[in-house]
């Protein structure tokens, strides 16, 4: 993600090809941080909670998503 925002488009032959739209990287950055954290939280609860780490204590989350954890290939018990 360290590309320079000064060159958002690969050079295309102007007039011959349709220009592909771009998303400014500065705008995208905050969305990546915001949704990245949210997505990691969701994946954590399905993939690892109440296995190696428990938040909260117990086994309710683990038991409920048990089959999804196995079938999506995450380490279970």
């Amino acid at each position: 993600m360290s590309q320079s925002p000064a060159t958002p488009l690969a050079p295309t032959a102007v007039g011959t090809a349709v220009q592909v739209p771009v998303v400014p990287l500065l705008q995208l950055g905050s969305w990546v941080v915001f949704f990245g954290l949210l997505a990691m939280l969701a994946i954590f609860f399905v993939s690892a909670d109440q296995g190696a780490i428990s938040l909260p204590a117990g086994n309710a989350v683990h038991e409920w998503v048990h089959d999804a954890r196995h079938l999506l290939g995450y380490p279970c018990h």
Partner: protein, 281 residues
Amino acid sequence: MSNLPGDSPAPSPTPSPTLSPAAFLIRGLAVGVVAGLIAFVVAFAFGEPQVDDAIALEEAAAAQLSPAEVAAEEAAAAEEDHAGMVEVSRDDQKSWGLLTGMLAVGAALGGLASLAAAAALGRLGRLSARGSTALVVLIGFVAVALVPFAKYPATPPAVGSGDTIGGRTAAYFGLLLVSVLAAIAVVVLANRLAARFDGWTAAFLAAGAYLVIVTVTALLLPTVNELGDFPADTLWYFRRASLITLAVLWAAIGVGLTALVGRMTDQASAETARRELAASL
């Protein structure tokens, strides 16, 4: 959307339209939920019979323990903190529980894939919006699902010791992290190389660099083998079902996101063309 002065590139005769990240994310979440639903149906049909077989084996093995072993297990269980301990029925686990997990992971991966597609749009050589989106999701499948699976394949219930879950979890997510970071790095590398070589050469060099990185990482990480005498055929059926589930989840995200991003960029391009025409009059 490029009304910030620092955002817009140098004025060119045909300014490229810009799209908002939120427009991508909303599409990614929608596609992810649908993909999770499809993956649930596939996992239920192909995976659950294998999970049931494995649990039956687990219970048969538990029934053969000697009374002393049973007493030791119960003593160990009694020592654990029983706060929040519940029993979920198999019927709930294989229906609503499985659905919950698939929808949550589908939405998370769909959303992440859409933001990655947004970053790649218009920046991967001369690939069209559809081409770059499809490529991003394909790379996501390889980096997030396929490579970790190759080193640490899915294991059915009854395989795996509770004592080693900490190390196995750390190794799995360590490999996943390296794989994702390496995939991002080689895409940036391929973009740089494309300036010097042709696109195909750059892509092959980058793919080779990725394979070297993940192979070396996988060799350095510990091997897990806790199979014992688990039957090979049930193991293979389970792993095949798991891989099919992952492939279907990612394929659904790829097809859906490519279609929606393609349509959105078509509309943005048409809008820009209309504005240019209006401005030229």
